[in-house]
């Protein structure tokens, strides 16, 4: 019985393989050390370091990510019976599955799990900062908590949750039965929990978790205790997951669009993920490189970042930000796509300036690669780089402005249905405009010299990533919840969630602009007495933001179990994912859709986006027809 379980892909085999992996690493470490006569032969940190790299691969093998490929490679018969496709019970969500809809939900749920953990850490940070002096944690733990907070929310929440939403929605939107590489898709997903768990486990490491921020600047990260290795290696897995998914999206979008789905008939979410995937594929290898160099410095005594060994400290920052600035757009462009979908559908109007919306995404992709050193205006790099980087950074405001103005113009004269997804979308526009404006201010070198590394930066990034990305994520989750679950969420709780978050988000982060300019540095567990009042207010407000997420959690869980049935198209949307049942059939479409027009032809009498070959001649109803326009 047990032996049979261990032979089957799944959690038992994953556990067995993981243990085997640790033993192999122990053997490798001690064997190599003995062969090279290193004393002592057993070194715990060496075993741990190697295990971090290798045990995840054993785990992924055990859970079943490689079975099909290994079987094929070894010349045995492979059966394409779709046995691992689709979920028949909740248990199937805990297995390797090739259905993009299952993977999408796996992504989203796992990402939100880490969002709640990361959010909890933010609560601890604010508890510590509620008053000057030491409240709960020592400085080492504090540095660890804010580092893990940022790392989890960036690498395990914002980036993957967008990949999750896109995973679910994009194949449906473009009329494809699945992603181009379903098994690669499964592998991409399973690397995520590996990375997240590794980051959390770092708290158990001798010397505490990694504590050098999510930026992990050398030489601080090179000299740090072994907990740092959990960051450098976890990021490799999260990055590999990102890259594989991005390739998958690119191939899917380029090759698997339904007949008639030209590029300029694609919904903007598809454009957004196409652009994001370009960014990921080009940029993410750079963070992998930066972290590999840190590993080599740490574990093998390379001197990439050691000046006394001929290394260069600033090089780390250049390589790191060459990824991590585009990463800001990786964390934002999919959200732009979500907002375009929500606004058009809920305002009952075509997205204003569709082509410019698509082109501005591509412009941001291109410009995004030319601005990385604006994170380094005070880093000590050559002075002359500052002005060109300031100019390129400021130029990004132009395509971003085009998007904001076009969204507002989409609202103009629509029939605005101010429900939960729409509240998040409009809230996003206001918050992201603020974040964008403080971004332009930060691009201005003379001001940046003063406010860089202060709470002004903390305020800016939270306006962009919380008021920006997270608001779009909430908009998207509420918007596609009926499609994913077949049920409606509770609208009143959704609105309550929005208003609580919106109000207390602003009370939390707006004052940070002020204390930053006044001189409070970031990443500190203690601060001067003069900042005490604002910090207390910020902490109290942040706790309400934290509590408001529980309303969201409750709403999602209860509605998923017992919400009212949603129907195929509760929003009366034109795009293809809404023309199939909720949730969609196992291979998405019983009949192949043909795209016959643009995705947002609201208000055009009789307009449809797609028709289904075998469907009745009358296309699926799409509340088009009457128009509220002429009266005005």
């Amino acid at each position: 019985m047990m032996a049979a379980k261990i032979r089957q892909p799944g959690w038992y085999r994953a556990l067995a393989f993981s243990i085997l992996g640790v033993l192999v690493c122990l053997g490798l470490s001690t064997g190599l050390r003995a062969a090279f006569s290193v004393d002592p032969v057993y070194d715990g940190e060496s075993v741990l370091q190697i295990s971090l790299l290798m045990v995840p691969l054993f785990f992924l093998g055990g859970i079943g990510c490689f079975d099909y490929w290994l079987r094929w490679a070894s010349g045995r018969t492979v059966v394409d019976d779709h046995a691992d496709h689709g979920a028949k019970s909740w248990r199937d969500y805990f297995k390797v599955n090739t259905d993009h809809k299952v993977i999408g939900i796996q992504y989203i749920v796992v990402s939100f799990f880490f969002m709640f953990i990361g959010g909890l850490m933010a609560m601890l940070v604010r508890a510590e900062l509620a008053a000057p002096g030491r409240q709960f944690v020592d400085p080492n733990t504090y540095n660890g908590i804010f580092s893990v907070h940022a790392t989890l929310l960036i690498f395990l929440f914002v980036i993957p949750v967008f990949a999750g939403i896109a995973n679910y929605v994009i194949p449906l939107m473009i009329g494809a039965p699945d992603m181009a590489f379903p098994r690669l898709n499964a592998l991409s997903f399973w690397m995520l929990p590996v990375a997240g768990v590794m980051m959390l486990l770092s708290f158990l490491a001798p010397g505490g978790s990694f504590a050098s921020g999510w930026t992990a600047y050398a030489p601080l990260s090179v000299d740090a205790p072994i907990g740092q290795a959990f960051f450098t290696i976890a990021v490799q897995f999260a990055g590999a997951s990102s890259i594989a998914t991005a390739l998958n999206f690119l191939v899917t979008i380029i090759t698997m669009r339904a007949p008639g789905m030209t590029f300029f008939r694609m919904p903007l979410l598809v454009w957004a993920n196409f652009s994001t995937s370009l960014l990921v594929v080009i940029a993410t290898p750079f963070i992998a490189a930066s972290q590999f160099m840190v590993i080599l410095d740490r574990a093998l005594g390379f001197n990439f970042f050691n000046p006394s060994g001929g290394g260069d400290v600033l090089m780390y920052q250049h390589v790191f930000w060459f990824y991590s600035h585009p990463a800001v757009y990786i964390m934002m462009l999919p959200g732009f796509g979500i907002i375009s979908e929500v606004l058009a559908t809920r305002a009952r109007k075509p997205v204003f300036g569709y082509r410019m919306m698509a082109f501005s995404l591509l412009a941001i992709v291109l410009l995004g690669f030319t601005v990385w050193a604006h994170h380094m205006f005070v880093s000590g790099m050559s002075d002359w780089i500052r002005i060109p980087m300031m100019i390129t950074t400021a130029i990004i405001a132009i395509p971003t402005g085009i998007k904001i103005f076009s969204w507002v113009a989409t609202l103009w004269r629509g029939v605005l249905k101010m429900d939960t997804p729409m509240l998040w979308a409009t809230g996003f526009i206001a918050m992201f405009t603020l974040g964008g404006i403080s971004g332009v201010m930060l691009a201005m070198v003379p001001l940046d010299i003063h406010v860089s590394d202060t709470y002004f930066i903390v305020a800016h990034i939270h306006y962009v990533l919380f008021g920006g990305s997270l608001f779009t994520i909430y908009a998207g989750i509420y918007f596609w919840f009926p499609k994913m679950t077949g049920r409606m969420f509770n609208e009143r709780l959704g609105k309550l969630h929005f208003w609580l978050t919106f109000i207390f988000f602003n009370i939390t982060f707006a004052p940070m602009h002020l204390i930053g300019v006044q001189g409070m540095p970031r990443r500190v567990s203690d601060y001067a007495e003069q900042f005490a009042t604002w910090n207390m207010i910020i902490s109290l407000a942040s706790f309400v933001v934290g509590l408001s997420t529980l309303i969201f959690l409750y709403n999602m869980i209860v509605s998923w179990r017992s919400g009212p049935k949603a129907g195929a198209n509760p929003w009366n949307s034109l795009t293809i994912e809404w023309q199939v049942s909720s949730p969609p059939p196992i291979f998405n479409f019983d009949a192949i859709p043909s795209v016959v027009g643009g995705p947002y032809e609201y208000g055009v009498p009789g307009a449809v986006h797609a028709v289904f070959d075998e469907a009745e001649p009358e296309p699926v109803a799409v509340g088009a027809g009457a128009s509220a326009s002429e009266a005005d």
């Binding site: 300036g353 000590g380 002005i387 085009i402 507002v408 609202l411 201005m444």
Partner: protein, 350 residues
């Protein structure tokens, strides 16, 4: 949209922008202006605020107006809006206007930056700023040789150039009142220059995460008149060989405990530690009354804790926060006096 609607909308934007700008400018954003650069940067900020507020106000007002004017009312559930796909004219306008604003702002910023980073005149006073986990020391050249201090002293209205270096990880030398900062990077020397313009004492802050004690890497800079600066430097130069203890007499231990010795860079124990006899209430480090009594620490133990603070750490506290440089910043006589003072205070004989 009637003409009246347009006028109302425009009026709201103008009024709200004015209110927003007045409010934002009325807030006390910056710390006091301590250098020649500060007024320029503060003015630049005001310009940025004046440009930014109307953009934010315009976007949100048009959005809120749309929501107010065109939100779905009962009976409109099945209606769609008009199929407006875009307007090339509008799109050109909202591409060109931001471009002009961006061009103007970057030009202003570039001119200001060139001004700020202009090379200092020859013969400008140089202060070497050295960052180490977790303290700064400041080395000034005087006629009698270099003087190293834990507190930075500068003369008012005289240009100064800071050469910033690090001995371990990246730090960042920032005086908020001066408005300028630069990273202290291992392996290279970074610098900036400015002219202090205000008498007084200002905070020196480390702005780049440098490890455990990052939050506590806070010191001060005192700007003095030229005469007082000269006197101070003469005193410090003389003192640097034979610091406080040379003065002899009682009370040296207490003085060191409460105030440290700025002349040599020895930071004050009382800034971080509570000791009833000295009247200090710091909570960064262990409470000496409690901890030393509980340990029944001898004078020799105390001496070791001062000189080698990382050897043994009190429960609940972390290594690497207390400066480990007291053996070099204090003379043997000073260490003896300090140890004696702490020992006797804890034992209740002080």
């Amino acid at each position: 949209m009637t003409a009246k609607n347009w006028i109302v909308l425009l009026a709201i934007i103008v009024v709200a922008s004015v209110i927003g700008i007045v409010f934002m400018l009325a807030l006390s954003w910056f710390p006091e202006q301590g250098s020649n650069v500060a007024p320029e940067i503060d003015t630049f900020w005001d310009v940025l605020v004046i440009v930014s507020v109307p953009i934010f106000v315009a976007v949100t007002t048009v959005m809120l107006f749309s929501i107010w004017r065109w939100r779905q009312r009962p009976g409109e559930e099945d209606l769609d809006g008009p199929p407006i796909h875009g307007s090339t004219k509008l799109e050109v306008i909202w591409t060109i206007i931001p471009t002009i604003i961006i061009a103007a702002l970057t030009t202003y910023a570039a001119i200001l930056l060139v001004d700020i980073q202009a090379a200092p005149a020859k013969g400008t006073r140089v202060v070497n700023v050295n960052g180490v986990q977790f303290a700064w020391d400041f080395e000034t050249q005087t006629a009698d040789g270099p003087v190293k201090t834990a507190k930075l002293y500068l003369p008012i209205n005289e240009p100064v150039k800071f050469n910033v270096r690090s001995k371990d990880v990246i730090h960042d030398f920032w005086v908020p009142a001066f408005r300028l900062k630069v990273d202290a990077v291992p392996g290279i020397t970074t610098s900036y220059n400015l002219t202090p313009t205000k008498l007084g004492t200002f905070d020196v802050v480390c702005a780049e995460l440098c490890g455990l004690g990052h939050a506590y890497m806070r010191q001060t800079v005192t700007v003095l008149t030229a005469e007082r600066y000269a006197t101070m430097m003469a005193k410090l130069t003389k003192a640097s060989g034979t610091p406080v203890a040379a003065a002899g007499g009682d009370g040296i231990g207490e003085q060191l405990f409460v105030a440290g010795n700025p002349a040599t860079g020895a930071t004050a124990c009382g800034a971080c530690h509570t000791l009833a006899a000295a009247g200090t209430t710091g909570v960064t480090g262990p409470n000496l009354d409690k901890e030393l009594k509980a340990d029944n620490a001898s004078a020799a133990d105390i001496m070791e804790m001062i000189v080698d603070p990382n050897k043994e750490i009190a429960k609940g506290y972390s290594k690497g926060i207390m400066p480990a440089n007291y053996a070099t910043t204090m003379t043997k006589a000073e260490l003896d006096a300090l140890t004696k003072y702490i020992y006797e205070s804890v034992q209740g004989k002080g």
